[in-house]
Structure formats: structure tokens, C-alpha cells
């Protein structure tokens, strides 16, 4: 029962939100819905820790015939992250959402987005994964375009076109896979492929999956929709997009490529490794040329996605553990910085570097709160990003893939540079014509503060977290327990 709650709670909240017209009540309902979702995520995590993998055969149709929901440690960690991002962004909504968006079902769509992301993490069926992708896509497209300014509509169209392409490619892959294997249950596929051998077209399949998930995750060369769209919507929306949507692509890639293709086509992992390395270099280099707070973040986000798929490319427990830790750290830090972008939007009405600056003097507490996520993203020791990066670099050196480790180190330096520049341009330099139009409210500072504390928490608790992600990585690379739990029911 607990397993379905991260999907039901946002859905129920979304349905009830449609009945309520009062905006203050809507905000509270959305916030309480997200907090309940977070609570369910934590309860599910504890259940999985004490009793092993949880499986729900929905409608009592046994896998592989019905749709299964599966919760293992990785899934539950990510569902908790969804709850954290949801709670922080809905709390940020108390500070004000533009009225046109709010009356157009903004909060409901927010909940539908949370439902879609949780569903994508929880499902054990590839077609169902596609359906959750569509749920996320529809919700995020409408959220982005709801206000209908010219810039937002243009961004939303780039976004939706590229993501529809990804969906079409994923659907093609699923059709091909179903035609050859007769099942889309991931555990069933994994067992079938390891006993009867993979289907003849496994390489095109791998490439189709890589492309579809690569577009969703914003890997090179498919990343350009992200920096073209993420800087246009209001802060809370771009924060939830940046925190969660690309991570669903990364998660799906990790899940599918560990369950299915691991022993089948080793060449594909070299390709993933190369793409990750290029993504890191291109993303962070492009970030250095940008002159807008949120665009710098967008390109950095692309660059950092490279770190999260690097571990999959290296395909070793240590590297994968590092990547997973990076995912968790990155969700918290990047969401937080996009919310800080919301403060700039309130204080200076823009995130263009030309009008930023001096905030270090005028709003020292904002600067203090932003310092942690900025330096965590840069990978400055002893913050969370540093630990995940060092694990990845060590793993690639230990495996003899020196070039990947070297690039990870080099890009680490570039991100320090990029983040230092971000800090300098937005907080430190003297603002040329920066006049504060308003001051940040505590309603905005509270969620930012909470996420900053969580970033510090991840840094302090990095060792137990790394132990946990190492266990998860071991399970991913040796998926027999997952397969048995789904198909034979011994969790």
C-alpha cells in the first residue's frame, strides 16, 4: 500500500486543488500535499531498508503480465528527493506566483508533475515508464507556457518538440523490443536475456534507448533544448524542472542499461563514457560564456549531467556509487540555486548579470545561504559535490581510464571557475545600475535555507550516504535480487 502512495497523494491533491478557488488555500494544499509525499517517501525508504525490495502487482495481475511498481533503495532515495524538491518549491510558492498562472491550475499541474516523476521512478515496466514520461511532459509543458509571454511560448515549443521526439524514439524502441521479446517488464526482460540470450537487434535497441533517455537527460549532443528553455519560467518552476526532470532521464538510463544491456553490448558503455565526457566539457565551457544567472546554471546543469552518467559508462560499483551520490547532491544544490534566481527576480526583476551585484553588501544573509550550494556545485572541499567527484575520479583512475578521470578533474576546475564567476557577478561586484526594487521575503528564504542545510547535511553525512549508494550500485550491477523480487515474489 505504501508503495502506491507517492503516486496517489499528489494525484489526490491535484484533483482536490481543482475544486478550490481560494489562492491561499491552494498554496497550503499544494505544500501539505508535497510534505505528505515526502513523508510517504521516507516511510517507504524505511520499509525497504528493513524488509527489502517492495513490489506491488497492481490490479492483482502478476508480473510479467500486469504493471508492477518496484521500490528498492535507489528508487526510494529518489522518491525522497522528489518530496524534498516538491516541498521546497511549493513552499517558495507562498512568496507569490503570478495570478494568471495560479488561476490556470498551476498548483494542480505542479502536483501532476510530482506524480509523473514519482511514477517514473517507481515503475518496473518500460511501457509504463513511457506513460509517466508523457505525464511529466504534458504537465511541464503547460507549466512553462501557462503565462503565454512570447519568450515562454517559444521556449516551451523548443522544449516540447525535442521531448516529443524523445518520446517517439522511446516508443519505437519499445515496439521493437516488444516485437522481439514479447514483454516489457524490466525484470522479465533481464531474466529472459540472461537465460535465452538477447534478441538479434539488441544494438539498435541500445542506441534508441540511449538517444531517448539522452534527450531527456540532456546529454551531448541532445542537450540544447535545456538551456533554450529553463531560464524563462518563474523560479519555482525552473527549480523543479532543473532538480528533477533531467534526473528521470539519468535514472531511466541507469536502470535500463544495468538491467538489460550490461552483459550484452559492452561497446555501448564506451559510447556513454565518451558522451558523458563531452557533455561535461561542452556544458561547463558554454557556461563560462553566459551572462545570465539562470543561463549559467542551465549550462552548468548540462555539464554536471555528464558526471551522473560517467559512472554508468565506467560500469564499476565505485564509479556508479559516485554518480548516484552526485545525483542526490545535485538535485538539492541545483534546485536551491534556481530558487536563489527567484530572489534575484524579486529584488532586481531580472537575472541578467548586468543588473546583478552588490547583493553581498545589501543582503548578506542571501549571499550566505547561496554560498553553500554554489560551492557544493563547484565541488569545493569538503562540500557534497567534491566527495562525489573525487570518488568518480578515483574510480576512473583505478580502472585505468585515465582520460575520463583527467577530463572529470579538468571540468571540475572549470566548474570552480564558472561558479566563482557566478558568485562574483551576482553577489560580489559593485552593481553598475542595480537598484533594489524589493527585498526578499522570509517565505523565499525559508525553503532556500532548508535546502542549504540539507546540502550541508549531505556533505556531513557523505560517508554513510556513499556506503548506501555503493550498496545500490552493487545491486544495480548484480540485478538478480531485483529480478527475483519482481518475478518470484521473494523480496
Amino acid at each position: 500500500m505504501l508503495l502506491i502512495l507517492p503516486i496517489i497523494v499528489p494525484m489526490l491533491t491535484a484533483a482536490l486543488l481543482l475544486l478550490v478557488r481560494h489562492r491561499g488555500v491552494q498554496r497550503w494544499m499544494a505544500f501539505l500535499g508535497s510534505m505528505t509525499h515526502l513523508g510517504c517517501g521516507i516511510a517507504l525508504f524505511r520499509l525497504v531498508q528493513s524488509e527489502g525490495i517492495q513490489v506491488l502487482q497492481s490490479g492483482s495481475w502478476k508480473a510479467p503480465f500486469g504493471i508492477v511498481l518496484v521500490a528498492d533503495t535507489l528508487t526510494t532515495l529518489l522518491v525522497i528527493a522528489v518530496g524534498v524538491v516538491g516541498a521546497a518549491t511549493t513552499a517558495f510558492g507562498f512568496a507569490g506566483v503570478d495570478p494568471r498562472r495560479e488561476s490556470g491550475g498551476y498548483h494542480s499541474l505542479f502536483m501532476v508533475l510530482l506524480m509523473g516523476v514519482s511514477g517514473a521512478f517507481l515503475t518496473g515496466d518500460l511501457f509504463n515508464l513511457y506513460v509517466w514520461f508523457e505525464v511529466m511532459l504534458v504537465a511541464s509543458f503547460v507549466l512553462m507556457a501557462l503565462h503565454r509571454t512570447k519568450e515562454q511560448v517559444r521556449a516551451a515549443f523548443t522544449y516540447v518538440t525535442l521531448n516529443l521526439l524523445a518520446s517517439a524514439i522511446l516508443l519505437t524502441a519499445l515496439g521493437l523490443l516488444y516485437g522481439q521479446s514479447g514483454t516489457l517488464n524490466m525484470a522479465d526482460l533481464s531474466r529472459q536475456w540472461s537465460t535465452a540470450g538477447p534478441p538479434p537487434l539488441h544494438l539498435p535497441l541500445a542506441l534508441l534507448f540511449l538517444t531517448a533517455f539522452g534527450i531527456k537527460a540532456a546529454l551531448f549532443p541532445w542537450f540544447f533544448w535545456l538551456p533554450a528553455s529553463y531560464h524563462t519560467p518563474p523560479a519555482a518552476i525552473s527549480a523543479i524542472f532543473a532538480g528533477l526532470l533531467t534526473k528521470v532521464g539519468v535514472y531511466s538510463m541507469i536502470r535500463v542499461f544495468t538491467l538489460l544491456f550490461q552483459r550484452v553490448s559492452p561497446g555501448i558503455y564506451t559510447l556513454i563514457l565518451v558522451l558523458s565526457a563531452v557533455t561535461m566539457v561542452v556544458g561547463v565551457t558554454c557556461a563560462l560564456t553566459q551572462r545570465d544567472f539562470r543561463r549559467v546554471l542551465s549550462f552548468n546543469l548540462v555539464g554536471h549531467i555528464g558526471y551522473t552518467t560517467l559512472g554508468l559508462g565506467l560500469l564499476s560499483p565505485v564509479a556508479l556509487a559516485g554518480s548516484l551520490l552526485y545525483v542526490l547532491h545535485h538535485i538539492v544544490a541545483i534546485t536551491n540555486l534556481y530558487l536563489v534566481g527567484g530572489i534575484f527576480l524579486r529584488v532586481r526583476r531580472t537575472t541578467d548579470f548586468a543588473s546583478l551585484g552588490s547583493l553581498y553588501r545589501t543582503h548578506p544573509y542571501v549571499a550566505l545561504l547561496s554560498l553553500v550550494p554554489i560551492f557544493a556545485l563547484a565541488g569545493v572541499p569538503p562540500l557534497s559535490g567534491f566527495i562525489a567527484k573525487i570518488v568518480l575520479v578515483q574510480a576512473s583512475f583505478a580502472q585505468g581510464v585515465y582520460w575520463a578521470g583527467g577530463i572529470a578533474l579538468f571540468v571540475g576546475l572549470l566548474s570552480v571557475l564558472s561558479m566563482a564567476r557566478l558568485w562574483d557577478e551576482s553577489f560580489w561586484k559593485d552593481a553598475p545600475d542595480g537598484v533594489d526594487k524589493a527585498s526578499p521575503t522570509w517565505k523565499q528564504l525559508l525553503p532556500i535555507g532548508a535546502l542549504t542545510l540539507l546540502s550541508l547535511g549531505i556533505s556531513v553525512g557523505a560517508e554513510p550516504l556513499l556506503d548506501m549508494t555503493s550498496r545500490v550500485a552493487g545491486d544495480l550491477l548484480e540485478p538478480s535480487a531485483y529480478v527475483r523480487a519482481v518475478l518470484d515474489g521473494d523480496g
Partner: protein, 136 residues
């Protein structure tokens, strides 16, 4: 549009369409039909009314706001999934109850409830969109 032929035809067609929608909804469990098409046909009936007599008349004929139909439909569909949970069965398991004496063979169950939910959501979505577009 002000055409007496259309208005008269709409008045005759509307009850027929609504009855046909109920038929399709009930038939849908084992045969072609179901909540989705039934919802579309109900929506078509009200769109027809809108074209014949204007938006206000169509809104009045619907009695409720299409926006809230959307919400109620979602809740009904969700309830059909949660009823089995109350009996300790997995989410969305079909539960059946027999109505009337056994020789009638009248079974109602949660799949029908789910279909009704889908039907309401479809009516809500289609009419919200058409009314909004027609008003712009």
C-alpha cells in the same frame, strides 16, 4: 450562428446522444465502447448545444462547471482503485458485487466506477477546452 434547423435538430439529438453515451459506457466493459468514447459523445452533445444556442445555454444545460467535472472524475477513478485497498487487495484490483437476484446476473464492479471516472474526466477536459476556445 442562428439557424432554426440546427436548433431544432440539436434539441432532438441531444437526448439521443446522451442515451447513446450511457449505452456505450455500460457496454464498454466487454465490448467496444467505454468511458473514453462515452465522455467524448457527451461532450459532443454539449458542443452541439453550444453551436446551436450559444455558450451560455450550453453551460446552463451542463449544470456544473466542466472544470469541477475534471476533478470529480479523477476522484471517482482514484476511488475505484482504492476500494480494493480497503479489502486488503492490491491497488486497482477489480472488485465485484452482485445486484438483485442471482438469475439476473447483474454484476457491478470497480472497473465500471473507473470507466465513469474516465468519462467524467473526458467530458471535463473537452468542454473546458471548447468553452474556453469559443469564448476567446
Amino acid at each position: 450562428m442562428n439557424s432554426i434547423i440546427l436548433r431544432t435538430a440539436a434539441r432532438v439529438l441531444m437526448p439521443l446522444l446522451l442515451m447513446f453515451a450511457v449505452f456505450l459506457l455500460l457496454r464498454g466493459h466487454n465490448l467496444p465502447g467505454g468511458g473514453f468514447v462515452a465522455g467524448l459523445i457527451v461532450a459532443i452533445a454539449f458542443v452541439l448545444r453550444m453551436l446551436a444556442d450559444g455558450i451560455e445555454a450550453a453551460r446552463k444545460a451542463l449544470l456544473v462547471d466542466p472544470w469541477s467535472l475534471l476533478s470529480v472524475g479523477l476522484l471517482v477513478a482514484l476511488a475505484s482503485g482504492l476500494i480494493p485497498v480497503a479489502f486488503g487487495l492490491p491497488f486497482l484490483t477489480a472488485c465485484w458485487a452482485e445486484l438483485g437476484p442471482p438469475e439476473w446476473g447483474l454484476l457491478v464492479g470497480t472497473p465500471l466506477l473507473f470507466d465513469i471516472g474516465v468519462c467524467l474526466v473526458v467530458i471535463g477536459v473537452v468542454l473546458t477546452m471548447t468553452f474556453r476556445l469559443a469564448e476567446d
